[in-house]
């Protein structure tokens, strides 16, 4: 736990300014919110399809979550870490076959039509289950949705499905789209995918490709005195260096998802009127993972994998690459997950001598020039940090006699090389932990996944024991038993190392201090910003 404490302190030190503005808000909250104004946020990517019911990814949510709402949102204080949105209550049956949602009354779509249980049934059966990237897994056994009245939806599952899993999936997987617009034409080509219509606090106004998205206040929003803002604009700034300058020049108010490079945070935190905030990403933890191709003879040897784990100085990674804005990992579940995390796993201290000994033991002696064997290392191109870790890992491997050649690909080529063609030995991936191991984590080590599925086990790793454990946990209904199974899961993964978890990080928001109610829930950047306001 010690390095955890250190890095947390680092995070806090980096955000002292913020402590004055949001983390200690008691004094400031007395300030009465003002209504109106335009918030301008930086966007570094430009998703064309803005339907979060089909594409449950943070790039889409960042814009679309203000327009289309889920049944419930993540919360720091609510029961089970949730607070109601379109559903006001949710309850699972003891046999795990039904979940009953009570829906909010008096909610209207942006085109004025009323929101009813038919919309929820349609979204669940026609969109989340067959079309959504994450929903296909979680809702695979959903058979029917009964709608006894306009404000009740009862989900019926063919096989027992843990209510805990459904609950944990509510914020990210249950964006509700209007049935009356989607039933008239094919869902995948529906115009509402690019100009979404929802029940959220803001309506979609326009998208100027390459320039901005504009959202306008929805006057008939159900939240009392919400939204506060008149307008949200996402300004497209593809250049990473641009966001910091734009904040300083007061051309934008807010840059989320670490759009300001970590290395620039210390400097910008000293600029008057700008705050650096590390809160608000607790349920979207990204994990820095070394993916391993077990088809490679050397890497199929557990000793070699352990040697690689010992060769990585996690503290260096956290301090130098993430500048303290990350935590060293112990296993496949991040430490900040209060439900599932277990520290009772085998750990791999940074120990080059031990790593070398393990490799000698495995029979890979140093050859000429001190090299044991060579391999190809493919860092994912999506983040600066994954690429930098690639540079570091190459050096770390050189220390133990493994000659790694870096191969930088763009996103499409990386996807093809790692997840379809498997032409890699080691890869560096940033998978997301979404509050429950069954949503997007077990798939990283489970066997039998078809080629081409991104962020899944494409390293040819197959462990029947682990597969059985994953299958059992997927149908265990009792929450405590389920947690116990996932504790075993963490132990088994850390022991056998199908992949190596190096670090986990949340992102950083940099905002002008005139923006209030920032980062007030654990997935704030992708929540609805209904209570956010701007001073003056």
């Amino acid at each position: 736990m010690s390095d955890f404490a250190i890095s947390r302190r680092g995070v806090l030190a980096g955000s002292t300014f913020l402590l004055a503005s949001t983390a200690l808000p008691a004094a400031l909250r007395a300030q009465t919110p003002t209504n109106g104004g335009r918030l301008i946020a930086a966007a570094d990517s430009e998703p064309r399809n803005l339907n979060p019911a089909i594409i449950a990814s943070n790039g889409v949510f960042f814009v679309a979550s203000k327009i289309v709402e889920p049944l419930a949102e993540a919360s720091f204080t609510g029961k089970d870490g949730l607070e109601p949105r379109l559903a006001t209550s949710w309850e699972g049956s003891a046999d795990g076959l039904t979940v009953t949602f009570k829906l909010r009354e008096g909610v209207t779509w942006h085109d004025g039509k009323p929101f009813t249980s038919a919309d929820v049934a349609f979204s669940a059966l026609q969109v989340w289950k067959p079309l959504q990237n994450l929903g296909r897994v979680v809702f695979k056994d959903l058979e029917a949705v009964d709608t006894p009245d306009d404000h009740t939806a009862i989900f019926r599952f063919a096989r027992p499905t843990p209510f805990q899993l459904i609950r944990n999936a509510l914020p990210a997987l249950t964006s509700v789209v209007p049935k009356h617009l989607y039933e008239v034409s094919e869902i995948a080509d529906n115009p509402a995918n690019t100009a979404p219509v929802g029940t959220g606090p803001f309506k979609f106004a326009e998208h100027r490709p390459g320039e901005y998205y504009r959202l306008e206040k929805y006057d008939a929003y159900w939240g009392e005195d919400q939204p506060r803002l008149d307008e949200i604009i996402y300004r497209v700034l593809p250049d990473r260096a641009a966001a910091a300058g734009a904040l300083e020049a007061e051309e934008i108010h807010l840059a989320a998802f670490s759009a300001v490079p970590l290395a620039d945070l210390e400097r910008i935190s000293k600029v008057p009127g700008i705050g650096v905030i590390s809160k608000g990403y607790e349920t979207l933890t990204y994990q820095l993972v070394v993916e391993i191709n077990h088809r490679r003879k050397e890497l199929a040897d557990r000793k070699v994998r352990q040697a690689i784990a010992h060769a990585i100085d996690k503290e260096f990674v956290v301090k130098t690459i993430f500048l303290g804005y990350a935590t060293a990992s112990t296993g496949p579940v991040p430490r900040n997950d209060v439900q599932f995390y277990s520290s009772d796993v085998p750990t791999y201290a940074f120990d080059v001598a031990k790593a070398n000994a393990l490799l000698d033991e495995a029979g890979y002696k140093r050859g000429e020039g001190g090299t044991r064997f060579a391999l190809k290392l493919l860092p994912a191109p999506y983040f600066n940090e994954t690429k930098q870790f690639g540079d570091y890992l190459r050096q770390a491997l050189a220390e133990i006699g493994i000659d790694a050649e870096l191969v930088n690909n763009d996103a499409a080529a990386h996807q093809k090389a790692v997840y379809t063609d498997h032409t890699f030995d080691l890869a560096i991936a940033p998978p997301v932990f979404r509050g429950d191991p069954a949503i997007s984590t077990t798939i990283l080590v489970q066997s039998g996944i078809p080629d081409g599925v991104p962020f899944s086990n494409q390293g040819g790793y197959a462990n029947p024991e682990l597969d059985a454990l994953i299958a059992k946990a997927a149908e265990t209904l009792d929450p405590d038993q389920r947690i116990a199974l996932y504790v075993d899961f963490q132990k088994m993964v850390a022991e056998d190392l199908p992949l190596i978890n190096v670090a986990e990080w949340g992102f950083i928001t940099v905002a002008r201090s005139s923006v209030k109610e920032v980062s007030n829930n654990p997935r704030w950047a992708v929540s609805n910003w209904a209570d956010t306001w701007i001073e003056g």
């Binding site: 260096a241 400097r267 130098t320 191109p381 540079d391 050189a398 930088n408």
Partner: protein, 276 residues
């Protein structure tokens, strides 16, 4: 000798030559002064220049030695510049000679292909090529060559057209030399000087293009290049400007040196020809 004296009399050319000599010395001595991998971590991260005399120019984000990067980067920049220029001139000379000498349909086809390459913006072509082929030093060189050979091809063709009808070519024909032999043994050597005059421009452009590609994240990750160093330093442009200024100055000086020396050479040879 006269030419050398004339060259030495132009201060710009001398300055250019000195810069290039220094660059060459850096590139050649890099493995001797800095035998370790320049990408290995040598000290604490973001050490400022002139703090620690074992790391005179400081370290970057990961603690890599900037001085070692500068020396090894000189190798990469020179390699890219020279290889791309050599490739472009070779392809250009061959295509231009063939087109000019053969004439007719072959000329038409080759010149349309040249047109096509000239019509597509060179940088766009390089960008697409490297994205597709994956960034490595070799693909970067090929990508730059693809956009640079058209100039030499046109000039070579124009020269060949004017040489083709001269007496000694007619003579070679009479003694029954194979047309290809005539083209490449009699005509090409005489057409080459004006083509070579382009080389400094191509070398300089190649070094700049490599930097721009690296800036967009399309440099070879296994090698230190100045462009890559600038791109790395960009994230800390404001808090650690030295990280992008040092390789940036090296880049500007190199390009300037190549130009000045090249221009000096062209001018000297031009005056020599005029005097002869």
């Amino acid at each position: 000798m006269i030419a050398l004296r004339r060259f030495l009399r132009t201060p710009e050319a001398v300055a250019g030559a000195l810069i290039l000599a220094a660059l060459l010395a850096m590139a050649l001595s890099a493995p001797w002064f800095f035998p370790r991998d320049p990408q290995s971590i040598a000290g604490p991260a973001l050490l400022r220049p002139f703090q620690d005399w074992t790391l005179p120019l400081g370290t970057d984000r990961l603690g890599r030695d900037v001085m070692a990067g500068l020396f090894h980067g000189a190798r990469a920049s020179l390699a890219v510049g020279l290889a791309a220029a050599a490739g472009a001139i070779l392809i250009g000379a061959v295509v231009g000679t063939l087109a000019g000498f053969a004439g007719g349909l072959l000329d038409e086809i080759l010149m349309r292909i040249t047109d096509a390459f000239q019509t597509v913006p060179g940088f766009l072509l390089a960008l697409a090529f490297v994205s597709v082929a994956g960034p490595s030093l070799a693909t970067v060189i090929v990508a730059i060559t693809l956009g640079a050979w058209t100039g030499p091809a046109r000039i070579a063709r124009a020269e060949v057209l004017s040489i083709r009808e001269r007496d000694y070519v007619a003579g070679a024909r009479v003694i029954g030399m194979h047309p290809l032999e005539i083209a490449f043994r009699e005509i090409l050597p005489n057409a080459l000087p004006p083509v070579l005059a382009l080389s400094s421009v191509i070398v300089a452009a190649a070094i700049l293009t490599e930097a721009a590609l690296s800036f967009l994240g399309l440099g070879d990750p296994n090698r230190v290049t100045w462009g890559g160093m600038i791109a790395e330093g960009r994230a800390v442009l404001r808090s650690a400007p030295y990280l992008s200024i040092i390789p940036g100055v090296a880049l500007v000086l190199t390009v300037l040196g190549v130009y000045l020396a090249g221009e000096g050479l062209v001018e000297t040879s031009a005056t020599r020809r005029m005097n002869a």
